[in-house]
């Protein structure tokens, strides 16, 4: 696939040269290669601080790349099979926002599932776009939202033929994939652009036998969290675009919200990780898939837990499954996922990615070994042995169809008042409520608050979920639209 040498790492090479040249800095950052902040240097290391530098001619400029960053972005585009790639240092949040801001103006319609990451709805507030939600469907046993079916999209398009774009989560946090190829063809046939939140799908571009990647399906834009499963530093990410997008315009949109002081630590981590993925990705993800499969088999032997995988695939809302994900349904042992998540950390020193009402998710990566997997499996045995309870009476569903009555932007900027959460039923929500992780809003601005939603929020709070998004940090009160 590659016509460029993926062994090259232009940003790394430039930084090494910068260091060898022993440049005397009279520019920012003021720690001056670490010398001005010995305590920070002692903690992070001299090497790290010495390349925490500012944009300069030999190191290029992230806002207007013409040399080494440009070359590194071209290498990334080549490795991912994209027309263009943009390095993002403000998190995948910035990549998702740029996708929406680049395609939807104020009042434009965008079709998306409701179980999107908060960053997508934040972008709706920024752009003023009008969301058209497609019900993702729920697996009622597991309580997890699923993917987007072409049928549901067809119906949404029929009702909203003027929509500008379709946004798809692929894969979802839990590893569920949609039929991206058909969705893309359908959207394109109706002159809509396809945006893919591929935050959890970096490995799709490099592993074997994994679900199809956004670019391979002809999608127009994809936000790829290199830092999640690609090995780069936290907050570094990629925005990939296809042939239909004008790269200059996309760059301008990115620059609306992205820092002008792009971190070279983050940039070089993208550069190095891209090279490693292109060169060794196959072997890396072969190992990850086999470790995850081993863990699933062992966890399913325990009894009570259900580590799910491809057997969920039904050709529709679960078109494919990402087998590198280790999602485990815990409700049958009488524990909410969030309770297992807390026990694992507090009692066993094991930090997993998240726990929700019915499931936990462990991220397996190239950094894992059979020994770390054994610890997780052994701890799950112990958790069951020591903490299992009667599962009756536990909350058993997760997706509540939203009633959108105002655009997120209008609701967010409307006159609002504070009401106690228990008395908020019937009001129009003026802010976000979500559990983090996974960071999927339970309520977004412009949505009608119902008793069912309030029950869900109170239950999640009682079980120890980390709720956020509200102005009232104690989540006792909600800000609602004052009508």
């Amino acid at each position: 696939m590659s016509h460029l040498s993926q062994e090259k790492t232009p940003i790394l090479t430039a930084l090494n040269k910068y260091r060898m040249d022993r440049i005397v800095p009279f520019d920012v950052p003021g720690h001056k290669q670490g010398r001005g902040n010995p305590r920070l240097t002692a903690f992070l290391g001299k090497q790290c601080l010495s390349v925490d530098v500012n944009s300069m001619k030999p190191l290029d400029n992230l806002c207007h790349p013409v040399s080494v960053i440009k070359e590194a972005e071209e290498l990334a585009a080549d490795a991912f099979g994209a027309a263009n790639a943009f390095f993002i240092v403000n998190g995948t949040t910035a990549a998702v926002q740029s996708m929406i801001l680049a395609t939807c103006k104020r009042g434009d319609k965008i079709i998306l599932p409701r179980n999107v990451h908060i960053s997508a709805i934040h972008a709706l507030i920024l752009s003023g776009a009008q969301p058209v939600y497609v019900n993702p469907g729920v697996n009622t046993r597991l309580g997890i939202p699923l993917g987007m079916t072409p049928e549901d999209l067809k119906a949404a398009i029929a009702q909203n033929p003027d929509a500008k774009a379709v946004l798809v989560n692929n894969p979802t946090y839990y590893g569920i994939c949609s039929n991206l190829k058909e969705i893309t063809e359908l959207a394109h046939a109706h002159n809509m652009l396809v945006l893919v939140d591929e935050a959890h799908g970096t490995h799709f571009y490099f592993g074997e036998g994994l679900p199809a990647s956004a670019m391979s399906c002809g999608a127009d834009m994809a936000a790829v969290s290199m830092h999640k499963t690609g090995g780069s530093l936290t907050q570094s990410s990629l925005l990939l675009t296809g042939k239909r997008l004008n790269p200059g315009c996309v760059r301008q949109i990115i620059n609306l919200t992205q820092t002008t002081s792009g971190s070279y630590l983050l940039l070089t981590s993208l550069d190095i990780s891209r090279s490693s993925l292109a060169l060794d990705g196959k072997a890396m993800f072969r190992k990850v898939v086999s470790l995850a499969q081993y863990a699933r088999d062992e966890i399913n032997k325990i009894g009570g837990y259900y580590a799910f995988s491809k057997e969920l695939c039904d050709g529709g809302a679960v078109y494919d499954f990402d087998t590198t994900k280790l999602s485990v349904f815990t409700r049958d042992i009488g524990l909410a996922g969030i309770e297992v998540y807390d026990i694992l950390r507090d009692e066993y020193g094991i930090q997993i990615e998240f726990g929700d009402i019915g499931n936990i998710l462990a991220i397996i990566s190239a950094g894992d070994s059979e020994f770390t997997i054994e610890r997780l499996v052994a701890a799950l045995y112990e958790v069951k042995r020591r903490y299992a309870k009667d599962p009756t009476g536990m909350f058993d569903h997760e997706y509540i169809a939203p009633q959108v009555e105002m655009t997120p932007q209008n609701a967010f900027y409307a006159n609002k008042k504070m009401v106690p959460i228990g008395a908020s039923a019937g009001c129009l929500c003026g802010e976000f409520v979500m559990c983090y992780p996974p960071g999927i809003p339970i309520l977004a601005p412009g949505e009608r608050i119902t008793e069912e939603i309030i029950d869900y929020i109170l239950y999640a709070k009682a079980k120890g979920c980390f709720l956020s998004g509200t102005e009232d940090i104690t989540i006792e009160n909600l800000k609602v639209v004052d009508v």
Partner: protein, 288 residues
């Protein structure tokens, strides 16, 4: 030629042995294994640069990890040894005719093969008919066992690298579950003197207390190990290592030992105050 093996006991303390020659070196799937010949300690085995055993002083470790629990419950029939691929613990155990079954779980088969090749006196009893071998992670092996063993001996490497899982709460919980009513768990718990090691002793001890009503430590002097002062953990579901010691019964067996005797047994459970204080301290140590 001046050739020395050096092990860094802490970042500021080194321990060196003059080496006559290096006999073996390999990187197994899990770890680096080396064998050296020296004048002072004889042949010695290191794993990832850490001293595992020397011909001269290995008897201390192996006698203390086996005879202490055996003298408290000489009726032990089913034993599980986790780690201990060198065979020293097995050698001591096989001296008891009353033991019927020994399961040896060693993650790295190469340790066993290297010991067989270069330490015949340590590994001589690895061919005993009562032994079943399992080459896998101890944490994996034990998690499904229930009410099966009278004695579990954890003869592990240090709690960094492949041995890490054997110092965790999930492991001790599984051990408790795998032991019978009178069961005993003995493990090596590092050195009490240097903070880098004693934090593991403390953590192990405090974790084990959550599962076992009886939880004690005992000491031995092992010259080739960090600080020379080594600690073992003794945990049981009821048997007390001192008041339940069956000394006359054990002495009647007539086993010839070089370090262990029933007086040493009792004395080894006398713990200096500074170690008691570490064990009683429930605050977390600062890592840096």
């Amino acid at each position: 030629m001046d050739l020395w093996f050096t092990e860094q006991h802490t970042k500021d303390v080194c321990f060196s042995i003059r080496v006559e020659k290096q006999i073996h070196s390999e990187q197994s799937k899990y770890q680096r294994i080396d064998v050296f010949e020296s004048k002072e300690f004889g042949r010695f085995l290191t794993i990832d640069g850490k001293m595992m055993l020397t011909e001269k002083d290995e008897f201390i470790y192996h006698e203390m990890i086996v005879h202490v629990p055996m003298a408290v419950n000489p009726g032990v029939k089913n034993v599980l040894v986790i780690g201990g691929g060198d065979g020293g613990t097995i050698r001591e155990l096989t001296r008891y005719g009353t033991i019927e079954k020994i399961d040896l779980v060693e993650v790295d088969k190469r340790v066993l093969e290297v010991s067989r090749a270069y330490f015949p006196e340590v590994s001589e009893k690895l061919s005993d008919k009562r032994i079943s071998f399992y080459f896998e992670d101890g944490l994996r092996f034990i998690r499904e066992k229930e009410n099966e063993y009278d004695l579990i001996i954890v003869d592990s490497t240090d709690p960094f690298g492949p041995g890490e899982g054997l110092f965790t709460k999930e492991f001790y919980g599984s051990c408790c579950n795998a032991l019978k009513e009178n069961g005993i768990l003995v493990n090596q718990q590092e050195c009490p003197y240097y903070a880098d090691y004693s934090k593991f002793m403390k953590r192990a001890h405090q974790c084990m207390q959550e599962f076992f009503p009886v939880c004690r430590i005992y000491q031995a002097q092992i010259p080739s190990y960090p600080s020379g002062n080594w600690v073992f953990g003794f945990a049981s579901k009821g048997l007390n290592p001192v008041s339940d010691l069956r000394d006359s019964e054990w002495n009647k067996l007539g086993l010839k030992t070089r370090y262990y005797n029933t007086d040493v047994h009792v004395g080894s459970f006398a713990i200096p105050n500074y170690i008691r204080d570490i064990l009683a301290d429930t605050t977390e140590q600062q890592e840096f």
